[in-house]
Subunit: 349 residues, 2 copies
DNA sequence: CTGAAAGCGCTAACAT
DNA sequence: ATGTTAGCGCTTTCAG
């Protein structure tokens, strides 16, 4: 990197004179100024904004510590539509508020998350938005150096960090009830995999998105007088291709249903295709519904009926809350905001 | 502003010890650590990111090999499948190589790109991957402080920066020829919008992706003896919803075609749905083909026949090339790598 | 007119 | 286990 010192050396003057020339101070001899400018051009000198802000700490102590105005966003998978759309919206919202966003992909890996949060917070972010963390509140607090942090969709009760919540439970309950109202009685759940560890049943206290969606389903089943059975669960990883394969491989189970509720829209894309493959018509033979409300759902054939969450609101709430924390607003208690949803009625159910 | 010194004074230790505690270094007595943390909480201490970046200048420049091992990726739109998938793959590849990736969304905005490249290079990246830049090579060179940079899909001839190219031209040519071989004679181009500025025709010298894809189409038309006409171009923004609307609004033009070549898979998703809306069957009445090869294309009904570019290779080439630059490999001339493609034959053509 | 010195907040390297 | 020193790129201050 070329510094003012370098330019000065090349022009036979001190860094100070270079500074004066480049900032347009008029206390420099015209000839010296010209030489400096030439040297700067030749060496492709660029003012280093970082050091400028370092200085400004000293000069402008009155002003509120305006840091780098950067938000860090850690998100699990950029190649799935929902997180990608969320990242995009958060980035746009932050931009409107005068913040830059840097996104990092965690791939739901604990070690990864740790190193990301460590680097992000230690290095260049005024605040963090963290989606689907594997880490405990304590650890996040620690690693982030008490830096402002907003969690997305993480509702473990011990958390003492601001959180924006997706209406997983109420939305899923509404979905099942909607399917019931359409006449469905044998409703399958796609992607509602039981926990690998059998000691973690559907506790009210353990709340990742899948868990909460299942909880909502169970509640609806109970209210509607339907019997809940693991036989109605079509297990699959949460990817579109995985879901299609799951339909093929669990065809018997599928054919015993008259409706399928998919844990995400992405899963539903694979399900729609899988059902097409095995000759099941939607919605005539099988109603299909899902959760998320991503834009692409309007374009499938048939178009997807879905629990559309207010994803823009998630983005704006997360960003605004984080900025309030960064600005160190006093008397702002811990926030837990659940955004709304509506049933987007389209063709598949 | 509360500094580490302040916290130290309150806790009866030096700033250095505060730093050690807050960064989780374990060389501090538990009791001291507790006192420091209490003082930090009481005074509402916040790590100052600005000074960190100032420091990192030193760290980065002093020892090349032990830089921050971070790659910056600037990409235009995270909410479209192709760039999202690319970002995801680059991130994974970099991780395998021991680098972290931070992604920033540019939204194809010149001002945005400028500030991103400036911040990234000044602050925390060992190298930059830049997709679809609006800036000139000179400016990129300047802004990045001559930091290692790889461009994606930017082939303006004056560029003197490493570039990984998508086979836009040859792939598009192959697509048209494939459609022709299937019997299509009246081929429409969706998203091949003519330039707004009429003084920028299909020059061989101006090469963004759209331009190069159009060039490939024209070449194929010429070779096959088909007449090229603007009447065959269905204009649309490059989004799925836009494309669907374009089919509706330009229905007459559409119905005069026996095949449609879409500039991206995303456009094709909208087109498939649009054709369904107006009762045109694919592939019976209309063959549809597109460019990119994103995974979702296998799941539409009908599944999409597409020019599948080797997107994983784009990611690995970009990352590996950048890392070679970061490691300052000598005698490595400017690279311009075009990745391969194949025609992924599925149902739509 | 020009430059040397000091210092912004923080941390790597070294010293105690 | 804790502290001291030095220095990142720049600009304010003040001395030549």
């Amino acid at each position: 990197m070329v510094t003012m010192k370098d330019v000065g050396k090349a022009a036979g003057v001190s860094a100070m004179t270079v500074s004066n020339v480049l900032r347009g101070n008029d206390n420099v001899a015209p000839d010296t100024a010209r030489r400096v400018r030439e040297a700067a051009d030749r060496l492709h000198y660029r003012l280093n904004t970082t050091s400028l802000s370092a200085r400004s700490l000293r000069v402008n102590t009155s002003r509120k510590a305006s840091g780098s105005r950067t938000i860090g966003l850690a998100i699990f998978e950029l190649d799935r539509p929902y997180p990608a759309q969320l990242a995009s919206l958060i980035s746009q919202t932050a931009e409107e508020r005068g913040y830059q966003t840097v996104v990092q992909q965690t791939r739901i890996d604990e070690h990864n998350e740790r190193s990301i949060i460590e680097r992000m917070s230690n290095q260049f972010c005024d605040g963090l938005i963290f989606s689907s963390s594997r880490l405990s509140a304590d650890e996040i607090e620690q690693l982030s150096n008490h830096r402002p942090t907003v969690l997305l969709d993480d509702d473990r009760p011990q958390q003492d960090i601001d959180t924006i919540l997706t209406p997983s439970e109420s939305g899923s309950q509404a979905a099942i009830e909607y399917l019931y109202s359409q006449g469905a009685r044998r409703i399958g759940i796609v992607g509602g995999n039981p926990d690998e560890r059998t000691d973690v049943p559907l506790l009210e206290t353990y709340h990742d998105a899948r868990h909460r969606r299942l909880l909502g389903c169970r509640r609806a089943f109970h209210r509607l007088g339907l019997t809940w059975s693991e036989d109605r669960i079509i297990t699959t990883a949460w990817g579109d291709v995985d879901a299609r394969r799951a339909i093929h491989e669990q065809e018997a189970k599928v054919r015993d249903c008259d409706a399928l509720y998919c844990m995400t829209d992405t899963i539903a894309f694979g399900v729609l295709r899988g059902l097409h493959d095995i000759g099941v018509r939607v919605p005539e033979d099988m109603r299909v519904m899902s959760f998320d409300g991503i834009a692409m759902g309007a374009l499938t054939v048939p178009a997807l009926t879905t629990v559309a969450v207010d994803i823009e609101l998630i983005a704006t709430q997360a960003v605004d809350l984080l900025i309030r924390r960064i600005d160190d607003e006093p008397n702002l208690g811990r926030q837990r905001i659940t955004v709304g949803y509506h049933i987007e009625r389209r063709e598949s159910a």
